[in-house]
Symmetry: none
Subunit: 263 residues, 2 copies
């Protein structure tokens, strides 16, 4: 481990704790609030909460791993020799990234088998993207990192193409009051997902030693909060908007209504 | 770390444990009681519980950090050299303060987009207020602390102005039985939030060393219990009051009723 200052150590420590709190809070919010949306959008909200739940678990592990990797006495940070386990992030993404594309497709409610077909294809691409990134992440050789980065970018770009071109007709078919929000969800996906390949290249474009480590940890933390917690709340907002008319209509049996009026 | 007496150490220790218990209790109460209010006020109660949930997490961390920073043997308190992490409070406020203004706006149920517009503006101001306070909090130079205190007070005062002047019309439009409570919620916000800038200046107006540390920790603990747990219960009370009539009265247009029956 490279020499790291107390300020750098604390920045990562507090960022990891912050993300753990945010993921936990988003999970509880989404699980409690799923009853607020109509049953057909409930799975989208449940999946959004599952994503932040899985992320909370991994941030708990990453936080503990960071805490164990260093000891701090009188403001001096020393490496303990215990490993800081980077693989937690990839284990997390392997589960959460396919679910993130699934929650978007679920809240759109595509007709027939279209939803499950699209969700499966996007989920497989997401798994390929994460798996192809990992060999690069654990390498310290810039050329190796670039090679896996390029390979991982192929499924990344295919996903983006699918979201923009492949979903065009489906978005046009959304109810008007939700169309803007669903379209915005695609843009949020693109922008938040772009953080990951950018953070990945930080050690290849001049950041070295502790600065590279801090940049990567804080960068992925910001990306995860936006792509999982904020995105999950956004999916919930779409589900609420799409539930609105169904929640306002009250169905009454004609016989019951007649007897009420006759009173 | 400054020399600290056993009495001072215990006062902070017990205050932190007390707040952890209060936040946990408020969280459980609010989560269990959300089903007692009508669905349209449920999100306000959920968010109130999320705020105390996040605060409980951070008080758990702050308590453990305080515990690890000192060792007590035979009534003698010695610093262990492990850092007491002050940043937890700011990580907490970054998440909870925007949510506190959101729960107030949510329980008011403003028409159309007015609620989300006002909540977004107040939440952004709250984030600015917390971020501008932090560089001062970690400084030991009085002039630096005053500078950031003043900068942080700008969004603080804008929020207070928004709550009092900006919400005037919205409060007048509240149902009569809830109007007084909603108006009181603003006063509670002002009074409880005023604790924070006052506690912040304790080390700048004569308190030094351990007394300053104890004053700040106990002061913020009192402020947090009032601004989050007590305020959350108050929001729940408003939600209960506003739920009362809607649960009993169903308004139907006579013409619509007649045409329904005629079918």
């Amino acid at each position: 481990m490279d020499q790291i200052s107390y300020g750098q150590y604390s920045l990562v420590y507090n960022a990891l704790s912050f993300v753990l709190a945010a993921m936990g809070a988003a999970t509880v919010f989404l699980f409690l609030s799923r009853s607020q949306v109509s049953p057909k959008y409930r799975t989208a909200v449940t999946v959004s909460g599952i994503v932040t739940f899985i992320a909370a678990y991994h941030y708990f592990r990453i936080f503990n791993s960071w805490d164990a990797a260093y000891s701090v006495v009188n403001g001096v940070v020393t490496a303990t020799g215990r490993p800081f386990n980077d693989a937690y992030r990839y284990m997390d993404w392997l589960l959460t990234v396919p679910l993130l594309v699934t929650e978007l497709i679920l809240v759109m409610r595509l007709p027939g088998n279209e939803g499950s077909t699209k969700a499966s294809r996007l989920a497989l691409l997401a798994v390929a993207m994460v798996l192809l990134g990992y060999p690069g992440e654990i390498s310290h050789v810039a050329s190796t990192r670039w090679m896996w980065w390029c390979l991982s970018m192929i499924p990344f770009l295919v996903i983006q193409y699918e979201l923009f071109v492949g979903l065009k007709a489906s978005i046009a078919a959304q109810p008007p009051k939700a169309r803007g929000l669903v379209s915005a969800a695609r843009y949020i996906t693109v922008v938040t997902w772009l953080f990951y390949p950018v953070v990945f290249v930080l050690p290849m474009i001049g950041l070295t030693g502790a600065s590279a480590e801090v940049g990567v940890q804080v960068g992925y933390s910001i990306a995860d909060v936006l792509a999982k917690a904020a995105f999950g709340i956004f999916i919930y907002t779409i589900a609420v908007r799409k539930s609105e008319p169904e929640a306002e209509v009250v169905e009454v049996e004609p016989a019951a209504l007649r007897s009420l009026v006759a009173r």
